[in-house]
């Protein structure tokens, strides 16, 4: 089986600094793929490349058999790559339901006159998406009581869940999560980890950046370790995490 997403020889330079240097990486279909590495290793940069936020200085991206390097950001999203952000970026002043519906943007197609004159198809699409939004909100563990609250006034953990629901709303093939567990306690981390497993169970592949090794070990099918923008190790979690080079570069005494 071919990989879902393949990055070949990706290079990102910021002025003189080479943040990513010739990275090769492949995310398999239906897998939870962990991307780990010390702070500043270039993980977020890679994720930004994989979602079109940063045009790599060099290299190719192939997603689902198609070259996607030249697309703009919404093009990446339309092909089926959905993401969350390291610093949560929900739309202020929008309710939870509305924010989640934005994730389904590409699935609406009614024309302006149809919207203004109230076409039946337009209404049906809206209903269907609202129903789906409710499903996904329940799926990520948010109750009906938060649906009409302004998303940015929720607590941090709940905002994370809204972000995940919003990303899932586009029915992506690959979900990219940048440190979704940061700032959560052990219990909440476990809940989100379960959620990620359920996402995989639906056939959606996940790329996960995370620093909590317990979770990474139990959750990921495959790991890529970055250091100074280069691939330090790649493979099954147990093998990678027992690699002395990885332990020296990344793992601390307590984990």
């Amino acid at each position: 089986m071919t990989a879902l997403l393949e990055a070949r020889q990706v290079v990102v330079r910021f002025g003189g600094l080479e943040a990513v240097g010739g990275l090769d990486m492949a995310v398999a279909r239906g897998a939870i793929h962990g991307l780990i590495g010390p702070n500043g290793a270039g993980k977020t940069t890679v994720l930004n490349v994989l979602t079109g936020f940063i045009r790599p200085t060099a290299g190719r991206l192939v997603f689902d058999g198609e070259e996607i390097g030249g697309l703009n950001v919404n093009g990446f999203a339309r092909r089926g790559l959905a993401r969350t952000f390291q610093n949560i970026r929900l739309f202020g002043a929008m309710t939870v339901l509305e924010s989640v519906l934005v994730g389904a943007h590409q699935r609406f197609s009614s024309s302006a006159p149809a919207l203004i004159f109230g076409g039946r198809a337009a209404r049906a699409a809206e209903r269907a998406m609202i129903a789906r939004a409710h499903e996904l909100l329940t799926f990520v563990g948010l109750g009906r009581e938060v649906v009409d609250r302004v998303a940015t006034t929720l607590s941090y953990g709940h905002q994370r869940r809204v972000e995940i629901a919003r990303a899932l709303m586009s029915s992506p093939k690959l979900l990219l999560l940048d440190e979704p567990l940061a700032g959560m306690n052990a219990l909440e981390k476990q809940e989100i980890a379960d959620l990620v497993r359920q996402v995989r169970a639906q056939g959606i592949a996940v790329l996960l950046i995370e620093h909590d090794m317990q979770i990474v070990r139990s959750l990921c099918d495959h790991l890529t370790v970055l250091e100074y923008g280069k691939r330090l190790a790649d493979g099954a979690p147990e093998k990678v995490l027992s690699d002395p080079a990885v332990q020296a570069a990344y793992l601390g005494r307590t984990r």
Binding site: A82, M94, L101, Q106, L115
Partner: protein, 674 residues
């Protein structure tokens, strides 16, 4: 060479003055991310204060008052210090309470402050020019360079002052601890407080220095052109803002460069282009628009400043005000929230009220005023689409309105009546065709003007669209064959249906009301769908919206088109209702007024634009009846400015902000709940 040299000299002097004022804009923007429109008026105060201090006596408030007759340097110093203090006071009263308010609130108060200062100056110094006195330096022989360029000693003084002041300031900002604190406060006020920076004092210092620079520029201007006048600050203020943006707002060397370029281009353009003086004002804006298109952050600006700016466009209630006032607002908000939640029934209720009012009001005078309220409410609703929902601060909206008004006027008057001798009554139906036609034309025009702005954000976008608006206006004035120029177009027929004139004030009111129903209905349907959600998502976080699959560029253009459509559509009716239009109807001031109405009423609500229009136009009329205003007519606008500042300080989010609109299709959720 002779001619060129002279133009060059003029350009350098003008450039120095623009540069000094631009520094004021840039400095304050750099600290609080606020375009303080009031600097134009502080510029004017600097001129008046210096002139007054130099004269032996001045007529103030109609009575002659003896003055000290200081020499220029002392008078200038006094004026700079006093203006600096005024700047700090203005910040304290009108801006500081709004530090955490939505971003447009302080922008609106800054415009109000301008209005207040200008009408106060007019009240104090009168409507005539105050001549700048003769003094020793100005009587010296000019210096001759290259045998051909004559520079007066004062011209040299102006340039030298500008250079010294700007070098000093640049060094100060880059090197001094206060300068660093200013930049830190600009980045993140909370973090700045946490490291021990007294943010309020730092901001006050920026205002003091900026106002001092504006005053310096103003007095040099008065000296160069020989007079001070209450409206002298407006255009140089606008040009200086342009210069600041051209150079990259927030950068002091950028402001200097921008000012210099603008001064030179204007002087040379006026001298060499055919009919150059008439087009002079358009030149700077063409330059601005072109440059921002190629380089969105300005010449020396940092790219990251081309961002939506800190803080949301909406939200952020004020905590100002005593308990009972807050309680009143809370009651009012609850009502609005309930009304907005009710949606359609509430809209019908309001419509019924409007119909009853239209039937009951006996006086034609008040009916005309109410018609204006509806027209301005509709126009503000159009602006609200682009500013309130899509979050693009468009200061060129009047151009779309002008397109509609001119289209119908040109067709009815210049083409059919004057060209073919066809009486308007015979083609009464054309009006109804023109409404959608002008809407489409203006929408197309909006997309055309919107396209180059796509890379711009926040305040840069505002300035670029302002440039477009001004270009359109200058064209309207100068393209005599098409628009009749400044004379405007007269004799536009009143609306007419099957030969029945709808010219009576009552008929016009209902006509306007019917159009308002159409406008609000169409806008509401678009906003309460995936389109509106995409707009709001762009407003709140463009990159995140893009990552969710929203083609943001296309949706921004849709917002321009929708907003342009409303502008053109309403513009048609406006022309027929006024029966006379001229470029004066479509000035920057009108655009700012519309923006004010939206902010006052509540951005991103359906009712806000109408609430804003109602309050504003009612105040405008009521102020006329005050005895004080009747005694000093110039104070009417000062009073309104004060009212506006008070409203903004107490309700920065707008009066009807609680009437938040849902962004899902009405009815689509009713079933789901069951």
């Amino acid at each position: 060479m002779d001619y060129f040299g002279q133009l060059l000299a003029n350009g350098l002097v003008l450039g120095a003055i623009y540069a000094l004022t631009a520094v004021a804009f840039t400095l304050v923007y750099g600290v609080v991310r606020l375009v303080n429109f009031a600097f134009g008026e502080l510029f004017m105060l600097g001129a008046f204060l210096t002139t007054s201090l130099m004269l032996p006596e001045v007529r103030l408030l109609g009575t002659v008052v003896p003055m000290p007759g200081f020499p220029l340097p002392i008078a200038a110093l006094g004026a700079i210090v006093v203006t600096g203090i005024i700047g700090v006071v203005v910040d304290r009263i009108a801006y500081r309470p709004l530090r955490n308010a939505p971003r447009l609130a302080p922008l609106i108060t800054s415009i109000a402050v301008s209005v207040v200062l200008q009408s106060l100056a007019q009240t104090i110094w009168g409507a005539e020019e105050l001549r700048f006195p003769q003094f020793y330096l100005a009587t010296l022989e000019p210096v001759v360079l290259f045998d051909s360029i004559y520079l007066s000693v004062m011209d040299l003084v102006v340039m030298a002052t500008a250079i010294v002041a700007m070098l000093g300031l640049s060094l100060f900002i880059a090197r001094s601890s206060l300068g660093r604190a200013m930049r830190a406060s600009a980045e993140d006020q909370t973090a700045a407080m946490l490291v021990g920076i007294p943010v309020n004092r730092v901001v006050a210092a920026a205002f003091a220095i900026g106002s001092g620079f504006a005053a310096l520029a103003g007095l040099l201007y008065a000296q160069t052109y020989g007079f001070a006048h209450s409206s002298m600050g407006f255009l140089p203020g606008l040009k200086a803002l342009t210069a600041a943006v051209l150079g990259g707002i927030g950068s002091v060397p950028g402001a200097a460069l921008g000012g210099l370029i603008l001064g030179l281009v204007e002087a040379l353009g006026a001298g060499y282009l055919p009919n150059g003086t008439a087009w002079k004002d358009a030149i700077s804006f063409v330059l601005l628009v072109g440059l921002l298109y190629l380089r969105p952050q300005g010449l020396l600006g940092r790219p990251e400043l081309n961002s939506a700016g800190r803080g949301s466009l909406l939200g952020g209630a004020s905590s100002a005000g005593v308990g009972w006032l807050q309680a009143v607002f809370a009651r009012f908000d609850a009502l609005l929230t309930r009304g907005a939640a009710a949606g359609t029934p509430a809209a019908f209720g309001l419509l019924a009220v409007a119909v009853v009012v239209g039937l009951m009001v006996p006086s034609d005078y008040w009916l005309r005023i109410l018609t204006m309220v509806v027209i301005y409410g509709m126009l503000a609703s159009g602006l609200n689409v682009i500013v309130g929902f899509a979050g693009l601060l468009d200061l060129g909206f009047v151009a779309f309105w002008a397109v509609g008004s001119y289209l119908t006027s040109i067709l009815f008057v210049l083409v059919l009546k004057d060209g073919y001798g066809i009486a308007p009554q015979e083609v009464w139906w054309l009006l109804y065709l023109n409404l959608p036609l002008a809407g489409l034309l203006a929408a197309g025009f909006a997309v055309l003007l919107g396209t180059p702005t796509l890379k711009l954000r926040g305040d840069y976008l505002a300035i670029m669209t302002l440039g477009f608006g001004e270009i359109v206006r200058v064209v309207a004035i100068n393209w005599m064959d098409l628009t009749n120029g400044p004379m405007g177009i007269r004799g536009i027929p009143a609306p007419n249906l099957f030969g029945i004139s709808l010219g009576s004030p009552r008929a016009q009111f209902f006509f306007a009301l019917a159009l308002a129903v159409v406008v609000v209905f169409a806008v509401a349907r678009l906003v309460r769908s995936y389109v509106g959600r995409a707009w709001v998502a762009i407003r709140e976080d463009e990159e995140a919206a893009e990552a969710m699959g929203v083609p943001t560029a296309r949706y921004k253009l849709y917002a321009y088109a929708a907003s342009g459509f409303v502008g053109g559509f309403v513009g048609v009716f406006y022309a027929h209702s006024q029966q006379y239009i001229s470029p004066l109807n479509f000035s920057l001031f009108e655009n700012i007024l519309l923006l004010m109405l939206v902010v006052l009423g509540g951005l991103g609500t359906f009712i806000g634009p109408f609430v804003g229009a109602l309050i504003w136009i009612a105040f405008l009329q009521l102020a006329l009846d005050l005895p004080f205003v009747q005694a000093y007519p110039e104070t009417r606008f000062a009073l309104l400015g004060v009212v506006l500042i008070v409203l903004m300080v107490f309700r920065p989010q707008g009066l009807a902000a609680s009437a938040r609109v849902g962004l899902t299709m009405p009815g689509a959720r009713a079933k789901e709940a069951a």
